[in-house]
Amino acid sequence: MSLPARRKFIPLLATALALAALFTTASLLYPGFCSRLVVANLFADNAALGISAVGMTYVIISGGIDLSVGSVVAATSIVAATLIGRHGWHPVPVIALSLLLGLLFGLGQGLLIQRFELPAFLVTLGGMFFARGLAFAVTPESAGINHPFYDWVQALRLPLGGRAGLPATALLFLAVFVVAAAASHLTSFGRNVYALGGGADSARLMGLPVAATRVAVYGLNGFASALAGVVATFYTGSGNPAMGAGLELDAIAAVVIGGALLTGGVGFVEGTLLGVLIFGTIQSALVFDGRLNSWWLRIAIGLLLLLFILLQKWISGRAGAARAE
């Protein structure tokens, strides 16, 4: 295949290679890093981030952005925790309710963006502050969840041999990933999202449901954030209004490292998975090393971002050349 034909896969390959390289290096440096347990942990520990990153992928492919993710996670977690812990509701209805709220919140943002042509950046910035404030208004303290249902779910494990096993949350993350990836390739909604990001006006003239798609994308991301919040409550067995601060940035970083263009139209849910894994690998490598400090993570992520964006600039440059030939 010629470069132009496949150029949009290059960032993806680069990401995959980067991940492989990172993991191999870490495995050589740190004994026991290259173990099923660590690999399993990558999924277990980053389930919440992963789910919101998957949602964010759709938003970014559609040419938008959503900064409210982290706060929605926090709000969901604390609402769920208080309803279950303090008011003694059963988790199942509570979870259903939180997901619904997340969906509505996202749809609301989408409507403001679509209907009044407000910049997504600003609307979701507002959403971010609003949800965070809300979370603290519910209760400033973290609230524990002690419920047989939670214990049962937390006990679920898909054994991978050794002590390694995938908890329910990790499986949920993988399920979300598979569904989202499939949908992005195999449903007209998925393709319309790409078209929307690739050129909203053209999409409109092609007779595609631009407005509905845009609103739906934000709605879905709200839902994904809420789901991530629920996952977080299972991960920690509690809710915390301070949870997920800066999660949106990690998610965006993961998406971009995964080969998506913030200008929209280009990106892969699969790439996002790789981005999340890279994120997790660096994080646990730092812990394995045990001497480096956590801020190296931020610096590394920043550099990776720069690297991948430059890579994409270079590729689109090549594309221009290819056209000129």
Binding site: A5, R7, S188, R191, Y194, L205, L208, R323
Partner: protein
């Protein structure tokens, strides 16, 4: 051409007005199955409005459209497509980041249980392209193929539906000869299949190469419908420009005195370009403008006039030939450099390249002058007001106050303000691209008077206009362009008629 032509589409008395402008005034259009029909007209003729009405982008204010015998009123491009009319717009409306196959099939992918069947999709796309005689890797990303191919993909998308009428809005504006030839081959093939093709273009040769019949519009009104074979080029041009040939030939010649004066008054050459050209924009041409001379660039829309201007001003720098200013060879790679050499360029596209809409008239006028002084040597408030008030008076710009946001002004006054912007720069050469487009008669007169006075003050002026009468009246010398080529130059004693003949003469 097939015998016993049956009418596919009859549009009668189509009317459309926009706030402040009457775009279409009772226009008729008749299209037959199995014909290629050219829709011609200069700017503001109403071509695009008519197309947008046919394809349901706008609802018409009046008139009826019959399609295949049924009265129709498409409410959206989608609706029109379902009826069997589909359009390929000039600026290709596809998604460059998606694959060719997907661009063809988007919105109607073959599905099973809501799941897109990619192999089937690619097969269908490939088939659609084969219909145009194209073999492409449909997995390729659209953005990575040439504009011409993108055009073909757009056509393929349009054809993939059960289309009876294909509308092509300036499909060739960005194609070179071979690409055009390929396109025309496709169009003829489709005509053979009994499709009706409505074809908007500015290239005469192309019209005479493929079109069976021609409908000419001018200023939103129907001029007429003609068999191409029976309509000489000269007449066509006359109809497009609204200057019936006989009238033209009878047209009063400019007093020779004036002509003579203009012939001689030209001082030393200020700008001299030799073999200057840019790939894909304008073929290499020679061009010279003297101080105190007005040189007209004549030609139909899309003949390369604006391209020439942009090239000279360094917006799309030349990639061939050389430019001499005052006899010294210079390279103009950016507007800044051009301005430094004393150029000014009043763009034809007032909205996107001219005004800063939310800034005041004052700011818009002094912008260029200030830019040439750099950020630190700010024009004092009083200096600014002197300049601004001087030009408001000199060009009688009608504005409530110099501080009014320029977007609140009428087109004509915006245009004058932009002229003022460049004059405030004290340029030595000013390029005026369609300075009288879309402005009222009074303003037009003002502009013409201004150009004359500039010439008298020893400026070099390059004047671009589609209105040949105006052009010939203003210029002492006219360079004629056709299909992105310089086809000739007229000096001394000339009139619109000769210009039109020159435009009209077929490719040698």
């Amino acid at each position: 051409m097939n015998e016993s032509p049956r009418e596919l589409l009859r549009a009668r008395g189509i009317e459309k007005s926009f706030p402040g402008a009457r775009a279409l005034d009772g226009v008729d259009l008749t299209l037959r199955a199995g014909e290629i029909h050219a829709l011609m007209g200069e700017n503001g003729a109403g071509k695009s409005t008519l197309i947008k009405i046919l394809t349901g982008v706008y609802p018409p204010d009046g008139g009826v459209i019959e399609f295949a015998g049924q009265p129709i009123s498409p409410r959206s491009p989608r609706g029109a497509e379902e009826l069997g009319l589909s359009t390929v717009y000039q600026e290709i409306n596809l998604i460059p980041t998606l694959s060719i196959a997907e661009n063809i099939m988007l919105g109607r992918q073959p599905k099973r249980f809501g799941v897109i069947q990619w192999p089937a999709l690619r097969r269908q796309a490939a088939r659609a392209l084969e219909r145009l005689g194209l073999q492409l890797d449909v997995k390729r990303e659209l953005g990575s193929v040439s504009i011409a191919l993108q055009q073909m993909v757009a056509i393929a998308r349009a054809l993939d539906l059960q289309v009876k009428l294909l509308i092509l809005d300036e499909p060739t504006s960005s194609l070179d000869e071979q690409e055009c030839a390929a396109l025309f081959a496709v169009l003829k093939r489709l005509r053979g299949e009994g499709l009706a093709i409505l074809f908007v273009t500015h290239f005469l040769d192309q019209v005479y190469a493929v079109a069976d019949r021609i409908t000419v519009l001018r200023n939103g009104a129907l001029v007429g419908e003609y068999e191409t074979a029976r309509l000489p080029r000269l007449e066509l041009i006359g109809k497009m420009l609204g200057r019936p040939v006989e009238a033209v030939s009878a047209a009063r010649k400019r007093p020779d005195a004036v002509a003579g004066e203009r012939g001689t008054a030209a001082g030393p050459t200020f700008l001299e370009a030799t073999g200057l050209g840019r790939r894909g924009a304008i073929h290499p041409l020679d061009l010279a403008v003297g101080t105190g001379e007005v040189v007209g660039l004549a030609g139909l829309l899309g003949s390369g006039r604006t391209e020439t201007a942009r090239m000279l001003f360094g917006i799309d720098p030349a990639d061939a030939g050389q430019t001499r200013v005052d006899g010294r060879t210079v390279r103009l790679r950016s507007p800044r450099e051009a301005i430094r050499h004393g150029f000014g360029f009043c763009s034809e596209d007032r909205k996107t390249e001219g005004i800063a809409p939310n800034l005041s008239v004052r700011e818009n006028i002094i912008l260029a002058a200030q830019a040439s002084r750099g950020p630190w040597r700010r024009l004092g408030r009083t200096e600014q007001m002197q300049i601004v008030e001087h030009y408001i008076r000199a060009l009688n710009i009608k504005t409530p106050s110099p501080e009014t946001p320029i977007r609140n002004l009428s087109g004509g006054n915006q245009q004058k303000a932009l002229l003022a912007r460049w004059l405030a720069l004290q340029p030595r050469l000013i390029i005026l691209d369609e300075p009288t487009r879309g402005i009222d008669v009074g303003a037009k007169a003002d502009v013409e008077r201004l150009v004359d006075s500039l010439r008298e003050r020893g400026l070099a002026v390059l004047f671009i206009s589609s209105e040949l009468e105006e052009l010939t009246r203003v210029s002492g010398r006219v360079i004629v362009l056709r299909d992105r080529r310089k086809v000739g130059e007229l000096t001394g004693d000339f009139d619109e008629n000769r210009v039109m003949r020159m435009i009209a003469q077929p490719h040698e």
